[in-house]
Structures are given as structure tokens and as C-alpha cells.
């Protein structure tokens, strides 16, 4: 057991703020690394201690292993919390920290290694008798084996994650070129070009299980999350528990997840993701060896602080509860607010936040690192905030979330706010009939603007704009009284 006395947060934005909050509550000092372009930002201002790391592009600062280790040493941080993304699932980073005597708040490097490689993870699950989606790896006869698998096929990077470098192949004709593209992208994003092809399930549900495992072999699950509402293979709405899941199937998912963690000798928080087809079958998809973006829904229904649990596990403490102590209360739904334009294929948008009003109140949690006046640029991930609602049941939670989204005001950058509101209010969503094809198969387009609405918008824009209202350009008498006239 090694006490954690000071934690360096190797991340930014809302997750950095969220980790700091827990550290603060636990009385553990925190250090934040920060790129100079964010040094005036909310996360840096919240941090008691900041270490600037420069880099171009700015994201590279948060991937700079050497500088991060140097920062730990200069500030005396004895542990690193990687948050998600960046170095969170980089086993060599975890390894480096270990060799420098710094704790990595997360699983052992071997677990990251095992689960980080999708192919190895698949093999592992197959060995445990847990179903996986039929797939073929690169090698001799890759193309013909893929054809035998049958279309559609999903090509994935072996070292991938986060929805990047994933490509659907609907027909044979496009197979070869798509493989080439997928390999190029895999190389670009993950530094490793190997890919594999998976049978693409038609509109499956995405259900994942949150687990906690300590160093002493205790593993518990914290229930499941349904993360089926996705666009571009990225989740935008997540909820817990998963609606309308058969109890037997649910039990199978939960115990499979626990089994995987146990057999892998996993420690820390982790997530086992499954795909569910429409026929009650489930398939292991992957395991994420880190805190997830959507962890707040689990926190809301369990009352546990997952970051706190991660820190305690990393410090060598045993879990102080068992599975039967975990009680799922009510229902929680999270919506991810992105700087993106749903009307133009979810392209990320940029701008300055001119007006910021976030919802609050009982049952509402907002994780963010936003403030009025900040610039949203292409430098970082376009996620702006997570709005989480917790209610006694799913309908209450959805109602609460819908109204919270309605009260949210972010002006100055295009967001998916109203798109999220439309999903939350959609009857199919309300009925719990959700799957990963939800966005594609339901009409979520913005309704046609009525003439009168358009006029109101134009009038409002004119009335608040100096270009229109400047008295400098006003028409005086008698011209105004005479109006449109020619002699």
C-alpha cells in the first residue's frame, strides 16, 4: 500500500475539473498540466498548481510523456490521473511512470496492453467462452475470408478506439480501397496500421458494464449503461440502467464483464462493452481500461464516486463494499453537448462563447469546463459539456434532461443542443426503442422554419445590430414621412 499524496492530472477540460473536484474533496493536492493556449481557461484557474507544457499542435502537450514525468518530479506528484483519451490507454506511459516510481491511476500496464489490442482482447474473450462478433484478422486470404464473413463489414484498427478509423464496407466492390483507407488512418491515429474486419451487426444496441476491481482480486460491477445513441460511431446519449433489457440477458452481461476483469487480473475502474443484436444475443466488443466519458450516469444511480474509487484502488486500498452493497437507484441519462452542427453532418464548429447559461437544480449534474468569453477552437475535442439528469425512473430522468437542455443557453458557437433535445423528446427514444442506428433511422432533422418564425429571427437580428439601428444612418424628416415616392 502506497499512499497517494499529490496527483498530477494529465488531461484537460471538463474531466480535469471533475478529477480535481474529487481530489479536493479527498484532501489530495492536484497539479494540472496545461498548454499555454488554455492557461487562462477554467481548468487551469481551478487548479491549485499548474505546469505549462508547450506543444504544436496543442494536443501534443497532453501526449508529451517526457514533459509530464518531468512535471511530476518538479511538483512532487506521486501519482498521475490520465482521465480519458490522450495517454489514458497508453501502456508504455503507464510503464514509464511505474519505472519512475509514480503511480498510474488506472490498471496495470499489462491489462492496458491486453485490452488495448482489440485482437488480443478478442482472443482472450473467446478463451473464456464469451461470445465475440465474428471477425477476420489480416493475413493470408484476408480479403476472401472477409467475403466469406459476409457484408456489411466493419473495418477497425487493431490498436484503435474512440470511434476513430472505423469504416463500414457495404459491398465487395469497395472492400480493397476501404482497407487501404482504414490502414492509413489507423497508422495516422494510432501509430500502427493493422486492421481487422468484423461482421457489422445491423443496428445493434451498445450496452456496457462498469466494473471496479481492486488489487486483491475483488471485482464488482456497477450495473450497465446503454450507449446506443451514437453518431459517427461516437456516443452522444448514455443512460443507466439500459431500458427494457431482459433480466437474464442483463445478468449474463454483468457476470461476463466481471469474469473478464477477474480473469484478466484487472484492477481499477474499467468498462466492458457489448453489442446486442435484436435476437437476445450479445457479443463482447471491447474493454476500456479507463474512466469513461459517460461515468456520471453510473455515479448518479450508484451514489459512488468512480474517480475516488480509482484513486483508492491505485493507492492499494481494497474495495470496502461487495456486490450486494451496490444498489442501483432510479435512472440517469447523460447528453453530451458538442460544438458541432448536426445539420451539416456533425461537423465541428468553432466560435467564442458569448453567452453561457447552464442548467442546475436537483437531479441535474453538469460536467464542463466552460466559461463566457472562451474560444472554442479546432485544437481540442469539440465536446463542451455533459448534462446528466437523475430521476426516479426513465421517463422522469428524460423529462428532467429535456428541460435542462431547454434551459441551456450557449450562444456564439453552434452546438448540438437542440438536436439532443429532439432526441430526448422523440417518441421512439421515450419508448426505449434504441439502437446504434437510432439517429440514422429516425427523423431528427430540424423542422422547417415557418415564415413567421423566420421574420422574427430576421427582425431580432436587425434590431440588435448596430448595422441596422445606428441613428447615424437613420432617415430623417421629411424623407421618413414621405417614404417610398418619386415625383
Amino acid at each position: 500500500m502506497k499512499e497517494i499524496r499529490k496527483v498530477l492530472i494529465a488531461n484537460r477540460g471538463e474531466i480535469a475539473c471533475r478529477i480535481m473536484r474529487t481530489l479536493d474533496r479527498l484532501g489530495i493536492p492536484s497539479v494540472l498540466i496545461c498548454h499555454p493556449c488554455e492557461i487562462q481557461g477554467p481548468a487551469a484557474r481551478l487548479a491549485p498548481e499548474v505546469v505549462e507544457i508547450d506543444g504544436d499542435p496543442p494536443v501534443s502537450a497532453y501526449l508529451d510523456v517526457e514533459e509530464i514525468i518531468k512535471a511530476c518530479k518538479t511538483t512532487g506528484a506521486d501519482a498521475v490521473h490520465p482521465g480519458f483519451g490522450f495517454l489514458a490507454e497508453n501502456s508504455s506511459f503507464a510503464e514509464r511512470l511505474k519505472s519512475d516510481g509514480i503511480s498510474f491511476i488506472g490498471p496495470k500496464p499489462e491489462s492496458i496492453e491486453l485490452m488495448g489490442n482489440k485482437l488480443k482482447a478478442r482472443e482472450f474473450c473467446i478463451s473464456l467462452g464469451i461470445p465475440v462478433v465474428p471477425a477476420e484478422q489480416e493475413g493470408r486470404g484476408f480479403i476472401s475470408r472477409l467475403k466469406a464473413l459476409g457484408f456489411p463489414i466493419l473495418l477497425k484498427a487493431a490498436a484503435g478506439g474512440g470511434g476513430k478509423a472505423m469504416h463500414e464496407v457495404m459491398e465487395e466492390a469497395r472492400l480493397k480501397e476501404t482497407i487501404k483507407l482504414a490502414k492509413e488512418e489507423a497508422l495516422r491515429y494510432f501509430g500502427e496500421g493493422s486492421v481487422y474486419g468484423e461482421k457489422l451487426l445491423r443496428d445493434p444496441r451498445h450496452v456496457e458494464v462498469q466494473i471496479l476491481a481492486d488489487r486483491y482480486g475483488s471485482v464488482v460491477h456497477l450495473g450497465e449503461r446503454d450507449c446506443s445513441i451514437q453518431r459517427r460511431f461516437q456516443k452522444i446519449i448514455e443512460e443507466s440502467p439500459a431500458p427494457g433489457l431482459e433480466p437474464e440477458l442483463r445478468q449474463e452481461l454483468l457476470s461476463s464483464a466481471v469474469k473478464i476483469a477477474k480473469e484478466a487480473g484487472y484492477e481499477s475502474a474499467g468498462t466492458v462493452e457489448f453489442l446486442l443484436d435484436g435476437q437476445g444475443r450479445f457479443y463482447f466488443l471491447e474493454m476500456n481500461t479507463r474512466i469513461q466519458v459517460e461515468h456520471p450516469v453510473t455515479e448518479m444511480v450508484t451514489g459512488l464516486d468512480l474517480v475516488e474509487q480509482q484513486i483508492k484502488i491505485a493507492a492499494g486500498e481494497p474495495l470496502f463494499f461487495t456486490q450486494k452493497d451496490i444498489i442501483i437507484k432510479g435512472h440517469a441519462v447523460e447528453a453530451r453537448l458538442y460544438a458541432e452542427d448536426p445539420e451539416s453532418d456533425f461537423q465541428p464548429s468553432t466560435g467564442r462563447i458569448l453567452i453561457l447559461r447552464l442548467p442546475e437544480g436537483s437531479g441535474i449534474r453538469v460536467d464542463h469546463a466552460l466559461e463566457k468569453g472562451m474560444n472554442v477552437t479546432h485544437a481540442f475535442d469539440p465536446m463542451l459539456a455533459k448534462i446528466i439528469a437523475h430521476g426516479q425512473d426513465r421517463q422522469t430522468a428524460l423529462d428532467l434532461l429535456g428541460s435542462a437542455l431547454g434551459k441551456t443557453v450557449i450562444l456564439g458557437v453552434t452546438t448540438n443542443r437542440e438536436f439532443l433535445e429532439r432526441i430526448v423528446g422523440h417518441p421512439t427514444m421515450r419508448a426505449g426503442d434504441i439502437h446504434t442506428g437510432f439517429i440514422a433511422s429516425n427523423n431528427l432533422k430540424a423542422p422547417q422554419l415557418e415564415d413567421h418564425q423566420r421574420e422574427m429571427l430576421l427582425a431580432a437580428a436587425a434590431l440588435v445590430s448596430r448595422q441596422f439601428t445606428d441613428q447615424e444612418f437613420a432617415v430623417s424628416e421629411p424623407y421618413a414621412a414621405i417614404g417610398d415616392w418619386i415625383n
Binding site: L411, E455, A462
Partner: protein, 169 residues
């Protein structure tokens, strides 16, 4: 005052006339109506148009106006009339010329590159001052007339832009 406002990819001609507080809004092909807006604090406004009142959240940044109303978000842009006329006419302005004699320090574009108005084309040095030569309009580069290290006279054509925004085949 009359301006075009862009909303959801369309342009509307809007005019606002009258003394403050007695505005008449005219939207092309529509009957002019009395309009007023009252601030309710921070970014909240009440718009009155004709008989109707509507609460709105509004923020303005330069020529852009962001509005949240009837549950939706909108980004409107008030167009600069000169730029708009230039755009609509597919402005030509097809050369970037040297404002003074000098030497090319660096070229930033190659033939075929798509540029928008203001894209840096090259850096020149003249009288020990570096100047960035920018694209006079949207288009594509058809020719870069001077290379790095090359000297030129005042008014020399440095870069020629081609018609349209499409890359030539």
C-alpha cells in the same frame, strides 16, 4: 438601413427604418411591420413583431447574431454590402501585385491551391520590412510569378488567381 441577413443558407433583404423605438421592419416581399425589442437582462430579450411577442436569447459578435428561440438555435450573419456585391458578382480581382519593390522571402501557395480572400500567398521583404501578400478574393492560384529569392519591381504581378473556386483539372 438595408442589409442582407443570412439565415440557414439563405439570404434575406431586410430593412429597418424609423426613429428608435418606432422601428418598421421590411423583409423583402413582405408587408412592413412595426418591430421592437426589449432587453430582459443579460442575453434575454422580448421581440415584438406586429401583434406577436416572443422571448429570445440573443448574442451578437460583430456581424454574427446568435439566437435561441422557440427551442432552436440559429446563427445569422449580417452581410457587408460591399463584400456581398463582390461575392455575388464572382469578383475577379485576379492578381496580387507588389505594393513596393522587394524580394520574395517565402511563397505560401502553389498553382492549383484553393485560396479564400485573405489567404497569405507569399512573404516579401522590402526596405527590411516583411510583408505578407494576401489573396484579393476567393479562387485558385493559377500562377506564382516569382520564386523565393527573386526580386521584383513595384506593381509587379506576384500571383495570378483563376476564375471560380474549383481546382482546374
Amino acid at each position: 438601413m438595408r442589409r442582407c441577413i443570412e439565415l440557414l443558407g439563405h439570404r434575406y433583404e431586410v430593412s429597418l427604418n424609423g426613429p428608435t423605438g418606432k422601428w418598421i421592419i421590411g423583409i423583402k416581399d413582405r408587408h412592413p411591420e412595426a418591430a421592437s425589442i426589449t432587453i430582459q437582462g443579460n442575453s434575454s430579450f422580448i421581440l415584438a413583431l406586429g401583434e406577436d411577442n416572443l422571448p429570445m436569447e440573443i448574442a451578437r459578435a460583430g456581424e454574427e447574431v446568435f439566437i435561441q428561440a422557440f427551442g432552436r438555435n440559429f446563427r445569422l450573419k449580417i452581410l457587408d454590402p460591399v463584400e456581398q456585391a463582390a461575392q455575388e458578382a464572382g469578383s475577379k480581382g485576379d492578381t496580387a501585385r507588389a505594393p513596393m519593390p522587394g524580394v520574395v522571402v517565402e511563397t505560401a501557395v502553389r498553382p492549383g491551391d484553393i485560396v479564400t480572400r485573405g489567404t497569405p500567398l507569399m512573404t516579401i521583404e522590402s526596405m527590411k520590412i516583411l510583408t505578407v501578400i494576401k489573396a484579393p478574393r476567393d479562387g485558385h492560384v493559377t500562377k506564382v510569378h516569382v520564386e523565393k529569392g527573386q526580386a521584383f519591381e513595384k506593381n509587379a504581378i506576384l500571383v495570378t488567381l483563376g476564375e471560380g473556386r474549383e481546382r482546374p483539372l
